[in-house]
Symmetry: C2
Subunit: 458 residues, 2 copies
């Protein structure tokens, strides 16, 4: 294992784990600071997660929401990017263990450590559901989900069995937070508006699309009026919204849900998981090392200044942290990142008395299909097209780089408004037939070997 490869400059070393909203914002705050920063991520890009559902539903190409992390911090001569996975943290000797994609290991020594490793989707102890109801946290997740959704329509077109076809054309989204609402809305747009003219044997607009939520209402953190508006809009778009309803079982062909009227098994090929998240395992490592508490989702409790108990040199921020009940969305991660950057800068100036982190609630928003959204901000509520325009403006603004902003506007104008098409409806061969291999494992395919027509030699 190599330790801190290059000659050490003698400047304080800041290691940032994670290139998401938290990590990038810490790093950018320190752009001109007299430190050596190393930012470590398992991918080479900064993923703009709030638009990931648009990759999963064929609207956006991957690149526009995933600029290369190196490019994002290119202007900062004090910052290095490491493509690697963190496998251990040693808070005593101040080292981070990293394994590179070629299997080589490194130890990155730090004076200050910022852990911003995020969260992944979680299945409340039912890990086997991951195979049936994929979630959406990475570009690969989005590719996989896009393949599942698009392939369902293809398979429905290919079969003549009405039961099989009904199963293929049933889509169930589990979890009605902003992500669930946004995904289910775009599945409805696909089925009802985009795809109908492309199919011959099926009417895609007859697809059955369900949104299942354990809580009594959709969009938990929003106020009652916006919740009602959202449910009403979704229902008018043809989505069956089932609140007070939980998933209790699933397999390749169905999902069983339990509501006030008992259990129901719904034949459905495509299930999308938007219900639970689980903090990065690094939260658990930090908890073990410092005695800090973790909550049910594995998120670690931090001090009011985002440091860990007894370790003022270690910060944790973003989705992996539980702090004042803040939700796992972009704004807390961004604000915590900026705050921690300022704390580190202040310390460099000898000032260790920075006030605790304070979250400024800019509001929340979610899109509902192509033209509607809900938003609340500073006591004001917005719905419909005005909320959609706000949503679009803010999301374009927060993208990194003018090239991505303009590209996104072009893509939205094209896909959502003008052509009634999705430009990125990709099923690759390996993806399509990965599905087949999965089916074969499930033992449900016809026996192909003996029923094939062979070429007849002359």
């Amino acid at each position: 294992m190599q330790v801190n490869s290059e000659a050490h400059s003698g400047r304080p070393r800041v290691v940032v784990i994670g290139g998401g909203f938290g990590g990038v914002n810490v790093t950018r705050q320190l752009a001109k600071a007299d430190v050596d920063i190393t930012i470590v991520d398992r991918t080479n890009h900064h993923l703009f997660q709030p638009l990931l559902y648009q990759v999963a539903t064929g609207i956006m190409p991957e690149g526009l929401i995933a600029p290369a992390l190196r490019r994002v911090v290119r202007g900062q001569a004090n910052t290095k990017v490491v493509l690697g996975e963190v496998t251990g943290l040693d808070l005593e000797t101040h080292q981070v263990a990293v394994v590179a994609p070629n299997g080589a290991t490194m130890a990155l020594p730090y004076d200050t450590l910022v852990v911003a490793a995020g969260a992944t989707h979680a299945y409340f102890g039912r890990d086997e559901w991951a195979a049936y109801a994929p979630g959406m946290k990475t570009l690969e997740d989005a590719r996989h989900l896009r393949n599942q959704i698009l392939s369902a329509f293809e398979l429905a077109e290919l079969t003549t069995d009405p039961e099989e076809r009904a199963k293929d054309l049933t889509f169930v989204v589990i979890g009605a937070g902003p992500t669930g609402v946004e995904v289910v809305g775009q599945i409805a747009e696909l089925a009802h508006r985009v795809l109908p003219p492309d199919y011959r044997d099926i009417d895609t607009s007859k697809a059955r699309i369900l949104l299942v939520e354990a809580a009594p209402a959709v969009l938990g953190p929003f106020d009652k009026k916006l919740q009602r508006y959202t449910q009403d809009r979704l229902e008018r778009m043809g989505v069956e919204v089932r609140c007070n309803t939980m998933a209790v079982a699933m397999d390749d062909d169905s999902i069983t849900v339990k509501g006030s009227e008992g259990e129901e098994r719904i034949p459905a090929r495509t299930k999308v998981w938007a219900a639970g998240v689980q903090a990065s395992p690094l939260a658990g490592l930090l908890a073990t090392a410092t005695g800090a508490e973790t909550d049910r989702a594995g998120r670690i409790s931090v001090e009011p200044d985002c440091t860990l108990p007894g370790h003022p040199e270690v910060f944790a921020i973003g989705d992996m942290v539980s702090l004042n009940g803040l939700p796992g969305v972009a704004q807390p991660a961004i604000q915590e990142g900026k705050y921690v950057g300022k704390v580190i800068r202040a310390r460099l100036d000898g000032d260790t008395s920075v006030a605790p982190f304070k979250y400024f609630d800019k509001g929340s928003m979610a899109t509902i299909g192509r033209t509607h959204a809900v938003a609340h901000s500073g006591g004001m509520r917005f719905t419909g097209l005005p909320a959609y325009a706000m949503w679009a403006f803010i999301h374009v603004l927060y993208l990194i780089g003018w090239g991505n902003r303009l590209g996104t506007l072009y893509t939205w104008g094209r896909s959502l408004w003008f052509t009634k098409n999705r430009a990125h409806r990709i099923i690759t061969r390996d993806q399509a037939y990965a599905e087949m291999r999965r089916e074969q494992r499930a033992g449900r395919q016809d026996s192909t070997a003996d029923s094939r027509v062979s070429a007849v030699p002359d």
Copy 2:
């Protein structure tokens, strides 16, 4: 196995195998014909292969060169699209056997069959090279190659071993046809122009980039003046061009080439295969069934009207066919597709005397890096920026749909001209660590298990 699921209209049935240039052009010619067309492809998109190298080098998103096949033929009520893989052809009973992604099999009966199944890359009997030198025929190939190329720079940045670093920063493209020239040019652009400001420990502009060609000159089918211009441009861009040189061996870490000065082993992580193609296995099936000949690349000989000997109802076109020595590029496939469409229409009108297929040579072109190209057309030769402008104009024109055309112009303006960046530089986590798993199979990684720093419990 289900046979011809839906009720048969009684109209002549045309089955088209393959949604590439050949298949799509046959189908479009028959848009208003009184036939029932079924077009079968293993993916859901029509791939614009001439720009695939731009996906592999991070310039273009996938969607712009891969519109959904259903969308391409949406306006034709007489056409169905089947996502499936052809597993057999029965020329006696006139049926095509197809396996769908869910494992179900179908037999598609035809009155007229058009086989346009294309080609894949081939390794001249050295199939084991596929693992070391990926080729580029599908979107998945392009994703894989992009990951290899981008990961090489990441690994070079991570290592401190000069030999390892030199190996990581050596790129060898095998084959100097248009694809090889275009790929090597864009690798040079990446290394010399795009990436340098993004790295801290390596100078990407010192990357060693080789183009290896067995023939005496690059761009075989072009004339000598354009060949010399191309080689000169490439050399000025820092590419080592080695003609009269063959690959004789390769492994994960190197390639051995043999030229006039004997054999040389070149340490190189990244090898790109642009040398050989092999016709679809369906060409072999057709040859066995009809007695038609195949050439060294497995391409089948067809009659002057693109039919198979003794089977006037079966056409074969495009890259899987050998006809008058036409090259395996887009134009012959497009023109053959249109021709066959016209033949089928004429036959419907009772006219079976259509003249043989005649190829109209519109010329050839290839880009060299970002600003240069070579082109010849109708006895005229073009080089440099004028040739590049011609190339760009023609390729945008041939894309399907205004949305893709405008999106491509935007992407080129942005990536190649204004921002010195590539918008689609994606390495996903699974891709990065697939590389690691490959290394581990090769037994070359450090032992990670015992050298990891572990979290220290309090």
